[in-house]
C-alpha cells in the first residue's frame, strides 16, 4: 500500500498518500477548491492558476492541481494572497471572454470570490476575445469568444485521449488561440469528430450543434433533462454513454470521466450515432 505523507493543511495536520497532489489532499479534507483547466481524465497543465494555494517556503503561490504533497508541507488555501489571485484570475478571464455558458460551478466560484470584471474597464475600450462563432459542419460549434484557453480540448484531441492533434494553441500572448493549422475549417482538418474536446470544455466555447441550436432557440432546459448511463452498441469495447434526454429525446451524449473503459472519451459513432433512435 502507498506510503502516507503528513502535511499541514489550513492549520490542521493531514495524512495523505504519497504522490497525491495538494488538490487531492484538499478534496480528501473537504476543502473545496476551484479549478478550470484541471480535469480528472486529463494531465494537469496548471495554466489557469485558479487553484493556487500558499505553500510555506515558496516565494510564489503554487498550483494545487499539479504540485505533489511533500512530507511536512504547510499549505494554506484561504489566505488573502490566495483569495486575491483567485479573484483576479476570474476577473481577468471574465473581462476577456463570455462566461455566461460556463458551468454553474464556475459561476458560483466567481460569486464566492467577489469577482468584478467590470473594473478592468469598459468592454468597448479594452481588448477582449470577441469574435464570430465558427459553425463549419453539422456536429460542432466553436464559439471562441468563450474560450479561456484552458488547453483541455487540445489535450483531449492529443496525448490524453484521441491522439488526432487536429487542434493546438497557435499565436502567442493574448493572441494565443486554439486553431487548426492555418485556421483551415474543421472538416478540412485532421478532426475525426470524436467530440472529446467538447466533452471537456468548461465554458461552452465548444458545443455540440444540437445543444447550441437549442440554446439559440431558447429550448435548452437542463432542469428538464435526465441523464442515463448505458452502453454503446457500435463495437465490443463497452463504452459507457451518458444519454442526456429532454422531452423524451436524446439531446447530448457524454461519457463518465471516472469509467475505466472510456475515461470520459468516445468516438464519433458513440458520440453522434444515437440519431437513429429518433429516426
Amino acid at each position: 500500500m502507498s506510503t502516507m505523507v503528513e502535511i499541514t493543511l489550513d492549520g490542521e495536520s493531514a495524512r495523505v498518500p504519497e504522490g497525491s497532489t495538494i488538490l487531492d489532499a484538499c478534496r480528501r479534507k473537504g476543502i473545496d477548491t476551484p479549478t478550470l483547466c484541471w480535469a480528472e481524465n486529463l494531465t494537469p497543465v496548471n495554466v489557469c492558476r485558479v487553484c493556487v494555494v500558499e505553500v510555506e517556503g515558496s516565494r510564489v503561490l503554487v498550483p494545487s492541481c499539479s504540485r505533489n504533497v511533500e512530507e511536512g508541507m504547510v499549505v494554506a488555501t484561504d489566505t488573502e494572497r490566495v483569495r486575491t489571485s483567485r479573484r483576479m484570475v476570474y476577473e481577468l478571464l471574465a473581462s476577456s471572454v463570455e462566461m455566461d455558458r460556463a458551468t454553474p460551478e464556475v459561476l458560483a466560484w466567481m460569486d464566492h470570490y467577489g469577482a468584478r470584471p467590470d473594473r478592468m474597464g469598459d468592454r468597448s475600450e479594452i481588448v477582449t476575445q470577441a469574435q464570430p462563432v465558427k459553425v463549419q459542419d453539422d456536429l460542432y460549434v466553436r464559439d471562441y469568444e468563450r474560450c479561456i484557453l484552458c488547453y483541455k480540448c487540445v489535450e483531449a484531441c492529443g496525448d490524453d485521449a484521441q491522439h488526432t492533434y487536429a487542434i493546438a494553441t497557435a499565436g502567442r500572448g493574448f493572441d494565443a488561440h486554439i486553431s487548426t493549422e492555418h485556421d483551415v475549417s474543421l472538416p478540412d482538418s485532421a478532426c475525426v469528430y470524436c467530440g472529446n474536446c467538447i466533452g471537456v470544455c468548461p465554458t461552452g466555447a465548444l458545443m455540440f450543434k444540437t445543444e447550441h441550436d437549442m440554446r439559440d432557440a431558447g429550448t435548452w432546459d437542463e432542469s428538464k433533462q435526465s441523464v442515463t448511463t448505458t452502453v454503446c452498441s457500435f463495437c465490443g469495447v463497452g463504452c459507457n454513454l451518458e444519454l442526456h434526454v429532454q422531452d423524451e429525446r436524446i439531446v447530448k451524449v457524454t461519457s463518465p470521466a471516472d469509467h475505466s473503459v472510456t475515461n470520459g472519451h468516445l468516438c464519433i459513432k458513440g458520440r453522434f450515432g444515437w440519431q437513429h433512435a429518433h429516426a
Binding site: T84, L92, M120, E125, G158, Y165, A170, T180, V184, S189
Partner: protein, 609 residues
C-alpha cells in the same frame, strides 16, 4: 506516428523541399519505407526527430520568406508532426511569418526602451516613407549603438545594422547594408586592452574567426587543464570560486553542476542559454561576436565535467553575426578534434549543436528554452521538477547563461580560490554590465563585484552633457527602476537584494530629466504584453490589462483611479504566474510608481534641444 491529415492541400516548392532536406540531413524522415511491405515509423522515431522542427521552420522561412502552408505540411510529413501543432509552434515566434512575403527584405527596427531614446520611432517612419517593409521590434540587443535594425531576407542571411559612430542609423545606411550584404561590424570596447579583464580580455583583440588566433591568445589551455583535472575537480573549483548564474537568478553554478553530475539518468545535457533578450542587455552578444571560441571552450569544459554527452547552444535568432561566428567556431572545433566522440584525445564524448531561436523573449526562460529546442511552443514548464533531473527531453540537464560559462575557463586556469579573490565575499569575481541610455560611452563593461552604480556611469564616460539622472533601469524590463539617490549602491548580489532590487542580466540604463518616463514604462508594459507566451491567465491577460492602464495614464488618467487595479494586477502576476516573466512583469512598473515616475509631465516630451 499520428494519422496525419493535410487539409491545406498545398504543395511545397522545390526550393522549400531542398531547404528542409538540408535541415534534416543528419536524421532523415520519420517514415522509412524499406519495401512495399515493410514500413518503419512510430513514436520513438517521431520523438527523436521532433527537435528538428525549429531548424526546419527556419529553413522554410529563409528559403521562401514565410512559412507557407505547403512548406509547413511538407515539414510535418517528414517529421510526422501534426500540422496543427507545427502551426502552433511556427506562430509562436516573431521571426516566422504566415503570409506571403511583402518584400524580399523585412526591416525590423527596435523601438524598445533604449532605442526609442535615440530616434527609433523616427527611423521607422523614415524607412516606411522610403517604402521598406518595416516591423517595430522588441529589444534587438544592440542598445549601446541604437537604434538597431535587423534585416530579415528571403533566401539570404540576415543582417544587423546599427550606429557606428555618432548619430542614429539612417535609411541610407540600411540600404548600403542590404546591398553590400554585410552587418555593421562589432563595436570596439572602451576597456579593450585593459589588464584587469577576465571575460572580455580577448574581445576586440583576437580574430573571432580564427581558432589559431584564439589558441595564440591562450585559448583551449583551460580545456586541456580541465581534462587533466577530471570532472569532479573542475566542479570543485567552480564551487570554490563561488560562481553564480549570471542570467539573473544567481544560482550557484557548482551546485547545479554537481546535481547533474550525480544523476543516474542518461543522456545528460549541457545547455547554454544564449537567448539574450532582456531589454537593455547585450553583453553576451559582445562576448559571442568577439570571442566565440571561448564559449565553445567553456561549454566543452562544462559538458565533459558533468558527464553531458550533448551540448546545445540556444542563441537568439536576432543575433546573425554571433550565430555565424559560433557556427564557424563549432565547425572548426570539430575539425580540430576538440568536439565529438573524443574531445582533444581524452576519450570523452561531447557534441555541440547550435540552435537559433526565432524571436521570443520567453525562450530565455530555461524550461521554455527546453520546449523550444524540443520543437514545441516555448511555453515554460511548471517547476518542480527542475532541469537537474527533468530538463531537456526530460533528461538531466545543466543550463547556464553565456556569461556564466565564460567565467569557467579563467576559473579552471587560476583556481577557484584565486578567482574568488576579487569581488565581495558573497559576490566573487567580475560582472559584465550593459550601460546604455544617457551615458557618454554606452557599452559592455566588466567590473569587479562591488562597483557602485556611479562607478559604472563614470566608467562609461559619465552622463551626456546637460543630463541629470532621473532614473536608472537596473536589471532590464524584468528588473526595476532606482532613482538618483541610489547612485552609490554597490552592484553586488547582496547589496541589491537588500535594496529590494535585482542585478538581473546586468542592465544599467540611464534616463534623464527630459525622458518621457510614462512612455518608457508603457513600452515596458507593451513588451511584456507582446512577449507573454499566453499560457497562464495571470500573465496572458494581466499584461494586457496592465498595459491598458499605462496607456490610460499616458492619456492623462489619474494614477489614483488606477492604483488599486495596478496593485491587484501586480499581485496576481507576481504570485500566480507560471514563470519569471509574469512574476516580474509588474516589477519595473511598480518601482516606477513608487518613484513617482508615472505622473505624466506634459512638457517632458520632445523637449531635448
Amino acid at each position: 506516428m499520428p494519422d496525419l491529415y493535410f487539409g491545406a492541400g498545398d504543395e511545397a516548392t522545390e526550393a522549400e523541399k531542398d531547404a528542409v532536406a538540408e535541415a534534416l540531413a543528419d536524421y532523415g524522415p520519420v517514415v522509412v519505407r524499406e519495401t512495399e511491405r515493410l514500413v518503419h515509423a512510430g513514436r520513438s522515431r517521431t520523438r527523436e526527430r521532433r527537435h528538428l522542427l525549429l531548424p526546419a521552420l527556419h529553413a522554410l522561412q529563409r528559403s521562401a520568406g514565410w512559412i507557407s502552408p505547403g512548406g509547413l505540411d511538407h515539414v510535418c510529413g517528414e517529421l510526422e508532426v501534426p500540422p496543427a501543432e507545427a502551426y502552433g509552434v511556427a506562430t509562436f515566434y516573431h521571426l516566422f511569418t504566415h503570409d506571403p512575403p511583402a518584400a524580399d527584405n523585412t526591416v525590423h527596427v527596435c523601438d524598445d526602451v533604449a532605442c526609442r531614446l535615440v530616434g527609433a520611432v523616427a527611423l521607422i517612419d523614415d524607412l516606411r516613407v522610403e517604402g521598406y517593409h518595416v516591423k517595430a521590434s522588441p529589444c534587438l540587443g544592440q542598445c549601446e549603438r541604437g537604434p538597431a535594425v535587423l534585416v530579415q531576407r528571403t533566401g539570404r542571411p540576415d543582417l544587423t545594422v546599427t550606429a557606428v559612430d555618432d548619430g542614429p542609423v539612417t535609411t541610407s545606411e540600411v540600404a548600403v547594408a542590404i546591398s553590400s550584404e554585410s552587418s555593421t561590424p562589432s563595436v570596439s570596447l572602451a576597456q579593450t586592452g585593459s589588464g584587469d579583464l577576465r571575460l572580455l580580455t580577448r574581445v576586440g583583440v583576437v580574430d573571432p574567426t580564427s581558432l589559431d588566433d584564439y589558441r595564440a591568445h591562450g585559448g583551449f589551455r583551460a580545456l586541456e587543464e580541465a581534462l587533466r583535472m577530471g570532472g569532479d575537480r573542475v566542479i570543485a573549483e567552480v564551487t570554490a570560486s563561488g560562481l553564480s548564474g549570471r542570467g539573473g537568478a544567481a544560482f550557484p553554478t557548482g551546485v547545479k553542476w554537481r546535481g547533474v553530475a550525480d544523476q543516474e539518468g542518461r543522456p545528460r545535457h549541457l545547455v547554454c542559454n544564449a537567448d539574450e533578450s532582456e531589454p537593455g542587455t547585450f553583453k553576451d552578444r559582445v562576448v559571442m561576436e568577439g570571442d566565440p571560441y571561448s564559449l565553445v571552450e567553456a561549454m566543452t569544459i562544462a559538458g565533459t565535467a558533468i558527464g553531458a554527452e550533448q551540448g546545445w547552444l540556444y542563441i537568439r535568432g536576432e543575433y546573425p553575426v554571433a550565430i555565424g561566428r559560433l557556427r564557424h567556431a563549432i565547425d572548426e572545433a570539430y575539425a580540430e578534434g576538440l568536439l565529438g566522440d573524443d574531445v582533444a584525445g581524452s576519450g570523452i564524448r561531447f557534441d555541440l549543436t547550435l540552435r537559433s531561436g526565432a524571436g521570443a523573449y520567453i525562450c530565455g526562460e530555461e524550461t521554455a528554452l527546453f520546449n523550444s529546442l524540443e520543437g514545441y511552443r516555448g511555453e515554460p514548464r511548471n517547476k518542480p521538477p527542475f532541469p537537474t533531473t527533468h530538463g531537456l527531453f526530460g533528461e538531466p540537464t545543466a543550463i547556464n547563461n553565456v556569461e556564466t560559462l565564460v567565467n569557467v575557463p579563467p576559473i579552471v586556469l587560476m583556481g577557484g580560490e584565486a578567482y574568488a579573490a576579487v569581488g565581495t565575499k558573497q559576490s566573487p569575481g567580475t560582472k559584465l554590465f550593459c550601460l546604455s541610455g544617457r551615458v557618454k560611452r554606452p557599452g559592455t563593461y566588466e567590473v569587479e563585484f562591488g562597483a557602485t552604480l556611479r562607478d559604472l556611469v563614470d566608467l562609461a564616460g559619465g552622463l551626456i552633457a546637460g543630463s541629470e539622472v532621473r532614473a536608472v533601469m537596473l536589471g532590464g524590463a524584468a528588473g526595476s527602476f532606482v532613482g538618483p539617490e541610489s547612485m552609490d549602491l554597490p552592484l553586488t548580489l547582496e547589496a541589491t537584494r537588500a535594496a529590494g532590487v535585482s542585478l538581473g542580466s546586468g542592465v544599467v540604463m540611464v534616463f534623464d530629466q527630459h525622458d518621457d518616463m510614462v512612455d518608457t514604462v508603457r513600452r515596458i508594459a507593451e513588451f511584456f504584453r507582446d512577449e507573454s507566451c499566453g499560457q497562464c491567465v495571470p500573465c496572458r491577460v494581466g499584461t494586457v490589462r496592465q498595459e491598458e492602464v499605462l496607456v490610460r495614464l499616458r492619456r492623462g488618467a489619474d494614477i489614483e483611479d488606477e492604483r488599486e487595479l495596478l496593485d491587484d494586477l501586480a499581485a496576481v502576476m507576481r504570485d500566480a504566474s507560471i514563470c519569471g516573466l509574469g512574476q516580474t512583469a509588474s516589477g519595473a512598473i511598480r518601482s516606477a510608481l513608487d518613484l513617482g515616475l508615472l505622473v505624466s509631465s506634459g512638457d517632458s516630451q520632445g523637449d531635448r534641444s
